[in-house]
Symmetry: D2
Subunit: 269 residues, 4 copies
């Protein structure tokens, strides 16, 4: 049972090292999440439990893996951006993809009950992932803008669509017909005139998706200490600075976000 006789098969594994000095983006999507959402009675057009669970999983991915500078999520997708200079696992593409999706998938089941309470998880969900390189900062910002523009377009559509179905009693097909060919302005107008909804007042999380960045956070913790010459422990409050993954629901298409958080794109970050 000589191992060596068979070991030649290792030579068939291809080297999939990614080009250095490029931003590495891994985007994952839920597999068949349309069906999954129905079976688990997700609220339409947005289910807070599902969105918060997605973000919890993405935070876990950022904390467990290395070199993720920023993540962006909406609906059943999340994009993770690894630093240009990352040398994690020698930049092997398969490592980045599989670590991200497996950590995300196991976290999804693990944290499910924290968000869905009595709503039982019926089966283990799947996710697919892909990896894309972006050579310049502008390319990366455009990628994230593309995803956020996509979030906006879909959410505006879904918001009107479900109002027409839920409040006006249209069938899904009728609602679809009604929206056929409408522009953003038309949809805003329907929302306002028919449902008294100002789209711009809809929750930011729905309209902008979720941005995850690393932030220094001051935590006040209570410690028990015993001072010299005293016999009893005393409780004192200590302020500790930690770096945490923080969710934001803001515009990332304009320049303001990047001016406010220059460290995200900083070469040596």
């Amino acid at each position: 049972m000589a191992k060596s006789k068979f070991e030649y098969v290792r030579g068939f594994e291809a080297d999939d090292a990614l080009l250095p000095n490029c931003w590495i983006v891994v985007r994952l999507d839920g597999r068949n999440f349309h069906r999954f959402a129905e079976q688990h009675e997700f609220k339409k057009p947005n289910d807070d439990r599902a969105l918060h669970l997605m973000t919890k999983c993405a935070q876990t991915v950022m904390q467990e893996l290395e070199d993720i500078a920023i993540a962006y999520g909406q609906s059943d997708e999340y994009s993770f951006v690894f630093k240009k200079k990352s040398k994690w696992f020698k930049r092997r593409a398969s490592k980045f993809m599989t670590h991200v999706v497996s950590q995300f998938a196991s976290s999804y089941v693990f944290y499910w009950k924290d968000y869905f309470k009595d709503q039982q998880l019926l089966y283990p969900p799947g996710f697919d992932g892909r990896i894309v390189l972006y050579p310049s900062d502008q390319n990366l910002k455009d990628y994230l803008s593309w995803r956020q523009a996509d979030c906006h377009i879909n959410n505006l559509y879904n918001t009107v669509f479900w109002m027409l179905v839920q409040r006006s009693g249209l069938t899904p097909v009728q609602a679809q017909d009604r929206l056929q060919g409408t522009l953003a302005g038309d949809k805003n107008e329907i929302l306002f005139s028919e449902f008294n909804i100002n789209y711009n007042n809809e929750p930011l999380m729905y309209r902008k998706g979720t941005v995850l960045i690393w932030q220094k956070v001051n935590e006040v913790i209570t410690k028990k200490i015993k001072l010299p010459k005293e016999t009893e422990e005393k409780e004192v409050e200590v302020t500790r600075t930690r770096t945490k993954v923080v969710p934001l629901h803001c515009d990332i298409i304009g320049d303001q976000f990047w001016e406010e958080y220059p460290e995200i794109l900083a070469e040596d970050s």
Copy 2:
């Protein structure tokens, strides 16, 4: 907020279609499972609960995804072999890898309690995956032989190692020193003379790992039917043939296995 302005970024995604007419192997491994095993009190050298859970996850992967002809697992790793002719997702490498590992990872958490009962899962585990192509049937058989030979070598070592630690009271370092430079025959001899263990009588699952194949299985189910001219339902037993994923613990290095199951390698399977 024009989407089109940013959509050029889609053009940065590379085509990762795999060469046609080759066996596609996706192998996954637990991430930091040494630590994970300790924290979850896995029995040494083999934990039946952990092995059965791995196999349950692999079965789920085979049932949920398409075109998997055979799978082989041992310890914290599993290999999935997709058919040569598979056109699943246009043979895009990233799709194969991420679907396998994400389905496996979510299943691991989902089915955990069925195998580990009161042993709580402390955190969501990660898995990494890789993809390798094998052009010929012989290459594929040699790949699987390589993994099974690896199983044998590791299990023999671990069996003696843990006997020395658990029964003879050696420290891990002492046990390691004792086994340094020993051949398979030496290890068998230690097991036999010092612990009265005939290695060949150890459970096949430990020595051979687990092979998963598709098998036609006859199931006898009870159906309630109402015959014409009768007013009451009657219970009858019906035999139904289904194709199921079946675990085997047998040698796959020799020819016998492949002669017994020729359909696994059959071109049109």
Copy 3:
């Protein structure tokens, strides 16, 4: 002027090793050879000088490079098949492609005058190349059949087309119109009834293209030797066996060719 400061740029070169145990095909095509043929007054539909020069270049490629088992050429293209087991330059794709096309291109200019005599070469021609892997022998045979079928289809068309232009005085556009929608049988019929040409009697090189294989060839050479006990040299004829690249113009689509030359596909060849 420290070299080391810049040497990091070497790390940007990707590993392009080809999958082991697959046939490696490099196919090259003349760049803008339609224009090139006109400017150098190639005879239509086939120019023997040009075809023989192509084959001379291909023979040079086979002799200069390593591990080429067979080559096939027609018109301004040539395909080179490297052995499945070849480890030449660690199977790096770029090495195979660039060595083939550069050797072919320099040979084209070098040997031009041997075939084109007084017809001056006006400028240095370019060639493009690509590389494709074929996992099975059948795939490889089908690849070569594809090229030979292409040769047949194009040559039949061109033979009729140029007859219509050269003998019947049609303009190229008229000839094209005449042939629009015709099947092979129609074209054979035009050749026979209008030009008294039996297509099957056209030269094999035009209809089948050129196959290059390695053959043992007996050469009779004259050597001067001095026998013991004699004082003068004597001329003797010696038969020497050499392995040479030999051109054939035969069918390679059917089984007969492969049965006649089994060594081409032999694993250990």
Copy 4:
């Protein structure tokens, strides 16, 4: 002889499109040029004929192919830099590599006699090529600096080595031993003290290699024109601006070159 039955083999060709928005560098090297140089009696350490022929070939490549922004050559190698935004042949790597090396190789034979006069070309030379991507301008500049630093190091070594052999009568092995472990300063000192050579006065082409860039050049040409109301043609001089490939022998490691020719790296160039 149905073509369609075999056409499936086209599906085995992999998509080798290069990542957008990166500099594309193709570097070629002479194959076995050590032997080639000896057989063609190249002058040591530098043969002007050979260097000028290399540059003539590189100019031809730049003129015949598209989107080459700059080229750099030394010894028997040349690097061609294609623009970041180039969409030539859909950025397929094989196209870039094979067009460059085949055009270079055919030009080498074609223009040989213009530089080597009576020195016959004995056989057609080969070249190998590779392709590398550089995401940032700095990466590209560092790549070119790497090649120029390499030129300097090799040329300084070769200059001393051949002085020791040609003037001091050392054998190659003795010269090699003498130079073992010497630093740049030591080599400069040997040249100066033993051969009265100030290395910095050596020709720039040897020390810096050759940079090829596109330059607007004013050409004064003589045209025959016939003015209205005149009956005879008159010769007039006309100044015409053309874009030509111009060779420079200057430092490209420092900033000055890039400040002087900002258009080379300009995004829209």
